[in-house]
């Protein structure tokens, strides 16, 4: 058997793959957080809850209406995005003039409410969500066995990340968003509807989280707790990457996912704290984060 650093190649690649998959979700979620923070200056604590909502909407669509994975991949983000936009419009908006900490506290309360409600309705245990027929089975890559759905999850999330980056960097809408991040008053005086842009951004961020949730549904179980388990790790990812750049958020997400996967091979006990350790080291050496701009 081929060995690498005294570890069977199979185990090494297997964990690398798991790391890449986790990294895909970290990247998608920290991307959404970074977009929302960039424009609204709000740390969206409800991001985990919106991720959970995405998965749950997909599961409910299948269980009650027989609507499958592919339509859910569009419907769930749309619904959660609209809900997010409504919340921004009616409540979150009132907090912009205050200390950004109030935004964090508000979305924390929102996350507790949503999570509590789903726990009350569906219990704390997870619900299985079947892999879509098109993506079942696996491919034998010669050195390892790759379940098709996992490959799809990596490719799809990478596509979404790059797509979002392109929209923000290369389109007119993206240039409005970037300009509003720099100087909202000036952008507004050019006749661009900044309040609408803020609503749109929060809705978009929520939709991205929900998309990650649908993508995660066949891999992890659909459970009310799936959001709060991941959100704290994503916060650490965001601290490591710094929220200054969209690309930074994406790259850091994948890097830390892989780092976590590899730790599972070499030192399993530390695998669930390795991201926090990396965060502490980055804070010592480069407090603004790897891609951060602010001091």
């Amino acid at each position: 058997m081929t060995m690498i650093f005294g570890i069977p190649l199979q185990a090494f690649l297997g964990q690398l793959l798991i790391g890449l998959i986790n990294g895909s979700f970290y990247a998608l979620l920290s991307l959404g957080l970074a977009i929302i923070f960039g424009l609204l200056r709000v740390i969206n604590f409800a991001h985990g809850a919106q991720y959970m909502l995405g998965a749950f909407v997909a599961w409910l669509l299948l269980a009650h209406f027989g609507i499958g994975y592919w339509p859910a991949l569009i419907l769930a983000p749309l619904l959660v995005g609209l809900l997010g936009a409504a919340i921004e419009r009616t409540m979150l908006r009132r907090l912009y003039s205050l200390d950004p900490l109030y935004g964090l506290l508000f979305t924390f309360g929102l996350a507790l409410t949503v999570e509590g409600t789903f726990r009350y309705l569906y219990g704390a245990s997870g619900q299985p969500y079947a892999t879509p027929a098109l993506l079942t089975g696996g491919a034998n890559l010669g050195f390892m066995f790759l379940p098709v759905y996992r490959g799809w999850a990596i490719v799809f999330s990478l596509t979404v990340c790059i797509g979002t980056w392109l929209v923000i960097e290369k389109t007119k809408l993206g240039s409005y968003l970037r300009a509003a991040t720099e100087n909202p008053v000036l952008v507004q005086s050019f006749g661009i509807n900044v309040p609408f842009l803020l609503t749109l951004t929060y809705g978009l961020g929520a939709a991205l989280a929900a998309l990650a949730g649908v993508l995660a549904a066949p891999i992890y179980q659909v459970s009310p707790l799936m959001g709060s388990n991941i959100i704290i790790v994503v916060f650490a990812v965001v601290v490591v990457g710094g929220m200054g750049s969209i690309m930074g958020a994406i790259v850091t997400g994948y890097l830390l996912g892989v780092a976590e996967g590899l730790t599972k091979v070499f030192y399993p006990e530390a695998s669930n704290i390795v991201i926090f350790v990396i965060m502490a080291i980055v804070l010592l050496l480069r407090p603004a984060g790897l891609f951060g701009r602010d001091a």
Binding site: Y120, I273, M279
Partner: protein, 330 residues
């Protein structure tokens, strides 16, 4: 001239009198409370109130939002429980072990967290506290999911039997009063003034030559140590220490208590803690999950009620007439 001075003196006298009356009334109520309420319930309120007041030292008076105070509360509960049960130390020493452990933990977490400001500070404390949670989940001495069970309360100073609930109540009350007195002393000292100046305008505090980082770290460690006092006390009251107290939900709970009672008021958190604990006790028997209510109250507080109960009272006409000033900005 003399007339205005005389008037001013009179004006100053009312608040002092009013505040003394309130203080005396409050103490009398706390002393008599076990006649009317279940002591363990009261002790739970006092422990959480001290926790929230210690947390408020950081949020209300230094302007730092920590999202990781559960690590100090639950950590101290573990340290005290372990010291009392495994080493057989007396309760007062056990609590000191908890305080010292929490202070040490606070120094480590604070050292990293003060490198960033605002929301980053909140996220870093949350992440590091979560790391401590995973440590507690795996470490041997915490007994993982089981926690440390049947911790003996022991004899205070060798003669006062704490397993009697009235003795325990007055011990908890004494520790609570001492804790509040320490916090009062800190915020009214020159050191506390500097903390408030950091809260109001950090850049200016730096330009005035204060080493803001050291002050922040000192405030963080003090807050952690006082939180540890509350955590150790709670371990003795309930005679166990579990993972619940180190989880992130606990960090959120203490924020809610402080927000509800009044950020930046000395005794506001006491009211917040009393409300939240009462709510939890009330809902404990029903199927309805507390988190939904907690979450909704959180949102309402942030949207409409940012001054909190005591803050609103201070700002009301009666509060102003009695001379309470609420200086914290919103």
């Amino acid at each position: 001239m003399t007339l205005t001075l005389e008037l001013q003196k009179q004006k100053e006298r009312t608040p002092v009198v009013a505040q003394t009356v309130f203080l005396g009334l409050g103490l009398a109520l706390l002393l008599l409370a076990p006649l009317f309420f279940y002591p363990v319930f009261l002790m739970k309120i006092l422990c959480f109130a001290l926790f929230a007041c210690a947390f408020n030292l950081l949020l209300g008076y230094t302007g730092l939002l920590s999202f990781g105070h559960a690590a100090f509360f639950g950590g101290a509960a573990y340290f005290t429980a372990h010291a009392v049960k495994e080493w057989g130390v007396p309760p007062e020493l056990g609590i000191l072990v908890g305080v010292f452990g929490a202070a040490l933990l606070g120094a480590v977490i604070g050292f990293f967290a003060i490198r960033r400001q605002g929301i980053y500070f909140a996220m870093i404390t949350l992440a590091l506290a979560q790391m401590f949670y995973f440590f507690c989940l795996q470490a041997e001495f915490t007994h993982g999911e089981d926690g440390i069970q049947s911790v003996p309360r022991g004899h205070l100073l060798g003669f006062l039997d704490l397993s009697q609930s009235s003795n325990m109540y007055y011990f908890v009350l004494a520790v609570f009063v001492i804790g509040i007195a320490i916090i009062w002393r800190i915020i009214n000292s020159p050191f506390g003034m500097i903390l408030k100046s950091i809260r109001e305008n950090e850049t200016r505090a730096i330009s005035l030559g204060y080493s803001v980082r050291n002050y922040k770290l000192a405030a963080f460690v003090m807050s952690a140590a006082l939180t540890g006092l509350a955590g150790g006390l709670k371990a003795l009251v309930f005679q166990f220490a579990t993972l619940t107290d180190v989880g992130w939900q606990m960090s959120g709970e203490v924020i809610l208590m402080t927000l509800l009672g009044g950020i930046g008021t000395l005794i506001g958190p006491l009211f917040g803690a009393a409300l939240v604990v009462t709510l939890q006790n009330y809902l404990a028997t029903s199927e309805f999950p507390v988190t939904i209510i907690t979450g909704v109250v959180f949102m309402i507080c942030v949207l409409l009620f940012r001054r909190g109960i005591v803050g609103e009272f201070y700002n009301s006409r009666l509060g102003r007439r009695l001379g309470f000033e609420h200086r914290h900005k919103h």
